[in-house]
């Protein structure tokens, strides 16, 4: 078959296919079955044209056509709204449990310095002053002090929204950076975890020592359930990705990095969700001064239990079901 004959025979099919593609690209309803069968025919023609070394303009035309169609036909059909609830109920906790060792490592990297810094700052003024400037400590004391314009006092509803924005912009950003820094062999994430643990511990210890704990603890108790867990999970995701870089195992380094990033991303989703919830609690609940501290402690206990239950228990049952189905 000469190139001319080839083009004359199949040209109408290609033109029809291109027209159909253009329609489907605009989002108009196209006949999916027809499109798929035409696509397979055109792929066949491309393979033929390549193996017979047909003129380049002909091959290029078929290549452009198939590439366009490839993008269109393998496009995602839904935007995953139905999957979202499944993701939250089962997939995310399961993904976090699957990387349990990294979560544990991140937890240790975060909690050990936090507890140590808390105890050191609680026992004497030296340590907190070594960690932070005196002016920063004064700011924190003013923030949780007994005065009128401090956190934990009554404030306008609009200000709650303002704080919600601040917390989302600031805290979630920190979480994302904590993950992103993990690509530097995990060192970045480990540093972020250690540093944040030390600072948070030192501030908490200092405020407790100077006798402002009655303002500080009710404020942080509830949202810390989500926020601290979120930070730890971001760090865990970063460590997971760093390990792929550091110890690729039997894969190539790039492949290992890609594989560990795939494993880490669901943990980032989980962390993002937790940090969003944390921002909402921090803005609208933690600052509510009319709630008695004991109520806040009670809600905090429930929230901590919920977070642990979510990560520890959910998705186990459905996991078994899908395994049977397979």
């Amino acid at each position: 078959m000469t190139p001319m004959h080839f083009e004359a025979t199949y040209g109408p099919l290609w033109e029809a296919f291109a027209a159909e593609l253009a329609l489907a690209k605009l989002g108009k309803s196209a006949d999916g079955a027809l499109l798929a069968s035409q696509y397979r025919r055109v792929c066949e023609h491309l393979a033929l044209a390549q193996s017979r070394a047909y003129p380049i303009h002909l091959v290029a035309r078929l290549e452009a056509l198939t590439q366009d169609a490839h993008q269109l036909i393998y496009r995602r059909q839904d935007y995953g709204l139905r999957q979202l609830s499944r993701l939250l109920r089962a997939d995310l906790p399961r993904a976090v449990r699957a990387q349990g060792r990294f979560v544990l490592a991140a937890l240790l990297l975060f909690a050990v310095p936090l507890v140590a810094a808390f105890l050191l700052a609680w026992s004497g003024p030296d340590f907190a002053l070594r960690m932070l400037d005196a002016s920063q400590l004064r700011d924190f004391e003013a923030m949780y002090g007994d005065g009128k314009n401090v956190l934990g006092r009554l404030r306008e509803a609009g200000d709650d929204w303002q704080m919600f924005g601040v917390y989302i912009f600031h805290n979630v950003g920190i979480g994302f950076r904590c993950f992103g820094a993990g690509i530097l062999a995990g060192v970045g994430s480990a540093f972020m975890l250690l540093y944040n643990g030390l600072v948070i511990g030192a501030v908490a210890g200092h405020l407790t020592r100077v006798g402002l704990g009655h303002n500080f603890w009710p404020f942080v108790a509830t949202h810390s359930a989500f926020e601290l867990t979120g930070i730890v999970l971001c760090g865990a995701a970063g460590l997971r990705m760093g390990l792929g870089w550091l110890a690729p195992g039997r894969l190539g380094r790039i492949e290992a990095l890609a594989a560990s990033a795939r494993a880490a991303v669901p943990i980032v989703y989980a962390a993002f969700f937790l940090l969003l919830v944390a921002a909402a609690f921090e803005a609208f609940w933690s600052s509510a001064a009319w709630v008695a501290p004991n109520v806040k402690y009670g809600v905090a206990a429930v929230c901590w239990a919920l977070v642990v239950a979510w990560l520890g228990l959910m998705g186990r049952h459905t996991g078994r079901e899908t395994n049977h189905a397979r």
């Binding site: 017979r52 003129p55 393998y74 929204w161 924005g165 989302i168 912009f169 992103g180 820094a181």
Partner: protein, 245 residues
Amino acid sequence: MSSHPATPAPRIDTLSPAETPEGIVLSLRPAGLVSRTMAFLLDLFIRLILDLVLVMSLGAFGGLGGLGFGLMLIGMFLIEWLYPIAFELGRSGATPGKQAVGLRVVMDTGLPVTPAASVTRNLLRVADFLPLAYAFGIVTMLLNRDCKRLGDLAAGTLVVYAQPVVLHDAPPDAPPLAPARPLSQGEQAAIRSWAGRAKRLTPERFEELAKLAAPALPAEVPGEKPRGASERLLGVAQWLMGKRT
């Protein structure tokens, strides 16, 4: 495509081949540093405008107070982190800046980018940005042949040109001329691709290349007006295309 996909030869171009389930090979054309920087700067500009609009419109509602400020920060958060993800998962697979430069984000396999990959590559901007002004990202892009930054490496994505380059047209019309001897498939392909570049080569170069094929050219018919090598080779090309009269 001159080389058969089954025989891996050292590639001299930057094309990144991706085999599809249909058994064909898509030649993805990775975008280089310059076009990606252009796209990035355009996006940066658009993001700044959006931020500015946000600040102006919400700042104008002074009465909203904290609510306006909070919404503004949430909006800025969305613009900073979700702008690229939302656009990459859209129909065109590209942010407005990339679209303007003619780029698109796809998976290594040529498939449209998945949500997880888009999230990965965009959150890892943080690492690409280090130590400042995307230094890590630029160095990584220059070091690998697919021009991927760290985020692309981890997510398994590629930034490619959306439109193919057209360097070959159909051979220009000429009276067909049978070659002097049977030609191998390689020779046929060479002559046909030479003819396809008629519009893009200078006539002198075109003629010079045609003279290389002199052994395949049929002898000139005595008594007919003498024709140049390129004219006669175009005739051969038409004959090879299947034109007989």
